[in-house]
Assembly symmetry: none
Homo-oligomer: 199 residues x 4
Amino acid sequence: MGKVDIKKQQKKEALLNAAYDLFTTKGIHKTSISDIVEQAGMAKGTFYLYFSDKYDIRKKLITHKASQIFRKAMTDLKEEQTDNLEDCILFIVNHVIDQLDADKSLLNFISKNLSWGIFKSAMISKPADDEVDFYAFYIELFEASEKKYQNPEVLVYMIVEFVNATSHSSILYNEPVPIDELKPFMYESIRRMIRSMEM
Amino acid sequence: MGKVDIKKQQKKEALLNAAYDLFTTKGIHKTSISDIVEQAGMAKGTFYLYFSDKYDIRKKLITHKASQIFRKAMTDLKEEQTDNLEDCILFIVNHVIDQLDADKSLLNFISKNLSWGIFKSAMISKPADDEVDFYAFYIELFEASEKKYQNPEVLVYMIVEFVNATSHSSILYNEPVPIDELKPFMYESIRRMIRSMEM
Amino acid sequence: MGKVDIKKQQKKEALLNAAYDLFTTKGIHKTSISDIVEQAGMAKGTFYLYFSDKYDIRKKLITHKASQIFRKAMTDLKEEQTDNLEDCILFIVNHVIDQLDADKSLLNFISKNLSWGIFKSAMISKPADDEVDFYAFYIELFEASEKKYQNPEVLVYMIVEFVNATSHSSILYNEPVPIDELKPFMYESIRRMIRSMEM
Amino acid sequence: MGKVDIKKQQKKEALLNAAYDLFTTKGIHKTSISDIVEQAGMAKGTFYLYFSDKYDIRKKLITHKASQIFRKAMTDLKEEQTDNLEDCILFIVNHVIDQLDADKSLLNFISKNLSWGIFKSAMISKPADDEVDFYAFYIELFEASEKKYQNPEVLVYMIVEFVNATSHSSILYNEPVPIDELKPFMYESIRRMIRSMEM
DNA sequence: TATGAATGAGGGTTCATTCAT
DNA sequence: CATGAATGAACCCTCATTCAT
């Protein structure tokens, strides 16, 4: 990569970081392009060299952040010695929830913006600089499992949506109960969800 | 109610209807106060006599629409002779999903904007002209049930969030599968969720 | 007309005047909406209450100015006792040229922007506050004439375009000759043009 | 010419061609320097090595295109055996109109931008690679003519402006009549214009 | 020569809100 | 109560021009 390309990469990252900061603190709709470039320390026009508009940068951020979370969970899972699918999934779920609990602005950003479509593209994306491939790993998980499942994609869909939807209010507002109180119920529900789809 | 009060009520309703129309067709962020008053056939300033801003009217709309859906489901449930709690809940869930499936713009509006806080206030709200009280009914349901549950509020929370989250993409985009295909999996999951909280 | 309507009319006129000033001095493309409202002494948004954009106000200005010129010529013609069509036309042409010669920025504005379509609409327009109707007068002129012409509209078209096109450079830059030197040639040409279309 | 000079010439021509394409399709004001260099397949900065701005390239284009039209007419005229000045002029006029009629975007470009000043410089310009010199030819035409004229330059001026002004709307919009219908009137007018300046 | 990333002033336009009528 | 003309800050986006490479 030439000097110029490195500089370009840096500019792009500066914009992504600035946008993330502002989206998580002020919210997307109250964040203007002007805010972003000011925070990133560059001229307005520069933004448009890298992104087409606010929603373009948002999409790239969500994809990036969501895949980051899952990859982290996956990496840690590999160090555990769990061969049971149910336990694997719960390990990942728990790991993800802990990450979101630890970074509430991240949670806010993700759960307000994550759609199933974006989730899938985040999972499938395999950027050159990411070493691990979450999607391949998750396929492998199901294939390695002794028990087989009726519709793995639907199962994952239901779990992802369930976790995303229920953790939001619990983590941020302790409503209806704090996350630690909710977890046992969630996890038991998820276990039963999984079992309900066994073949 | 005097003549003046009736006129005021009509204005307010005209504004609510106009706002709902526009929010569901153009989306909230592309709907301006000007659009609303124009569609409602009155002057800009009049809006501010009834609502403080766009988000005020949105909140009132969601509350109204959400409680409408549940009350409709509840009314129909009463005509069934079901005393089993599990079946009752699934009846309501199914009824709600069918309503959302039949009115996709309503689904879009609700699921983008419904939060647990708003849901609760919608349930508890007991407007003068609504004859039935959904919240009282739901409390009664749990009390009449033979089986007792560890934390009824958490159970309802999980079900509401689960249904809201999973039906959105399935109904609107057939992703990951169409709603009819998803239903059996959802319903079985909900049944097991309920059982997991039995005492 | 109520007080409010009078104020509106004044605002509109202030905008038209400001725009005309700027268009004739800086040119249309170097004149911004900001410039116009600043000169008119009002807020930017006000502009959009009266005109849709820069080209809307330009069109209205040209129409207005062009019809003004012709109406003035016509009014003066009525005081002359000329019943010969050829003389009438040349009277008007001369009158128009003298007006343009006296107000060079008007000439510049008109000849850069006048198209046959706009000219026709300017002639036919009969705003409530204009007492005389140029189009009716011109029809009448041809009808009253002893001599008849093959295609009066084409004749007028050719004369208008000829005068507009040839006077521009002559008045503004004395090229190829000053307007006073050009006039005899122009007028003789026009006379022959007219005769060439006699029936 | 060295290799480098040839390359430079090619770049310049590529820019001219690109600009002409864009000016005639999108119009000058909607064409940006970016558009031009993109279409020409080179970098933005390169434009400024050859032209000072958009209006510089426009001027060069008009000059080039206008002289091209006249030279073509002139070349064809030479093959005819016409010694009568009036017939010569009408041959050229007709030839020019037919060219403009056949290439409407050229007509649009020319007549919107042609001024007498530019016309003269186009006529007088004698680029190295053009073999024939229109200006010399036209001087010769008048000198060879039996009949003498009061002010040849004014005569040409009036004809050029007349043709340019009247053909525009007729060819592009059939207003007030299509060009074929207009021609006889135009040509008869031009003949009389010429005769009116005989000495 | 040639490049193209970076600039940033300035364009048009929208719209929530106010307030005199 | 109701109006709607007026406001003006704030928005997004374009683009001619520069300059280090």
